[in-house]
Assembly symmetry: C2
Homo-oligomer: 226 residues x 2
């Protein structure tokens, strides 16, 4: 009895609809203010404030003060991974809050998973990187090969900077729409940033969806052939 870690604590944190909405909104990767999160959850600012402090106490969120705003975001990569995993499970049980709407296909095609690319595009990129041996599965985690390293540097990603951080560079994340792995970690983040900086892809407002431009689509397909 009473063995192991306390899953009830996290469960209850996620279990409240208002908090779940906030977390889902934060899965889009942007840091959001308390007011924004309140409207996302459909509650008043006071209530949101109380929820946010609980989520922060539980280690799911961190806040940054900037002027008179407080920006909240998911505390670490692990939080995003855990949430995506839960979403996958919920989706597999048919626990959907909405009948699949017009937005759904866009989300399945390409979306933000906290800070990296997910959906069909995310999986395609991952598969391509594996097939071309630029990343490889090493025991339990993912590693960048020398070939992969020079490749991403050619793209303009600062490998040294990635390496300096304590965060893992590569890591897998389970996709709830595709039910397949895609690339997370600081490299996953850097790649998504790159696509956006280059103007290949754009985030849709108030959504996790990512829209690729015609050029971006072409460039992406060339970079990551099927």
């Amino acid at each position: 009895m009473k063995e192991g870690p306390d899953i009830a604590l996290i469960g209850s944190l996620i279990g409240d609809p208002a908090r779940a909405n906030m977390l889902t909104a934060l899965m889009a990767g942007r840091a959001l203010t308390a007011t924004e999160l309140a409207t996302h959850a459909g509650i008043t600012l006071q209530t949101a404030s109380s929820h946010l402090s609980k989520l922060e106490a539980g280690g799911l969120l961190t806040q940054r003060k900037q002027g008179r705003h407080r920006y909240f975001q998911l505390a670490e990569d692990e939080v995003g991974l855990m949430l995506e995993n839960l979403m996958g499970f919920a989706a597999s049980r048919g626990m959907n809050r909405h009948r699949p709407g017009p937005k759904d296909p866009a989300l399945r095609k390409a979306r933000v998973c906290y800070n990296h690319l997910a959906g069909d595009y995310g999986v395609r990129m991952y598969d391509s990187l594996i097939a071309e041996k630029q990343i490889e599965v090493k025991g339990d985690d993912l590693a960048l090969t020398p070939a992969g390293q020079s490749r991403i540097e050619a793209l303009g990603i600062d490998y040294a900077a990635l390496k300096k951080s304590r965060r893992p560079i590569c890591r897998t994340c389970l996709d709830w729409s595709e039910r397949r792995s895609h690339l997370a970690g600081s490299l996953g983040e850097a790649l998504l940033t790159l696509f956006i900086d280059k103007g290949w892809a754009k985030r849709e407002a108030n959504s996790r969806a990512i829209r690729f431009t015609a050029n971006g689509d072409k460039a992406f397909s060339e970079l990551f052939p099927q």
Copy 2:
């Protein structure tokens, strides 16, 4: 707003301490009766009954009637995997219900994860199988190699029977104590059953811990060298 699957539903199911205790108890893999689960959770039978019907409605549990008993167990492999994943997250946040006690080391050494072996032994077995190319990572999932197939048949496992089932034979599961992968799926289950049938290992009562005998220890090390 309101995108994606409803994580609040599962969250709230897991979020109640009584239900979390029941689920944790069921992670030991045995099917338990309502009365047993009630004592595990420290509540009366009536309350337990209400919780159990909720968990069943949520698709986390299934029940089997046997005489006047009702045996409850986790609905599918996915449920166990999801719970172990949550435990891993909770453990990483230091959310423990108890100060690490005397039982803790035993659990870390070898324990049941729903229906397969986890802990140090589970990870060792997994690593060994990979190193000897008896299972291999194939894209996103695990596959038994021809060498692995004849190997497990030599051990007395009915490969044809495993293959017939719709369940995946091999699959990875994230270990919350080791933070590494170990082998789940029907093969994982068959192997654990084998160890117990051969008398190499024994389940401890009312615990997820598994105790290997001296002989079992030796046999295990020979079968799965480091």
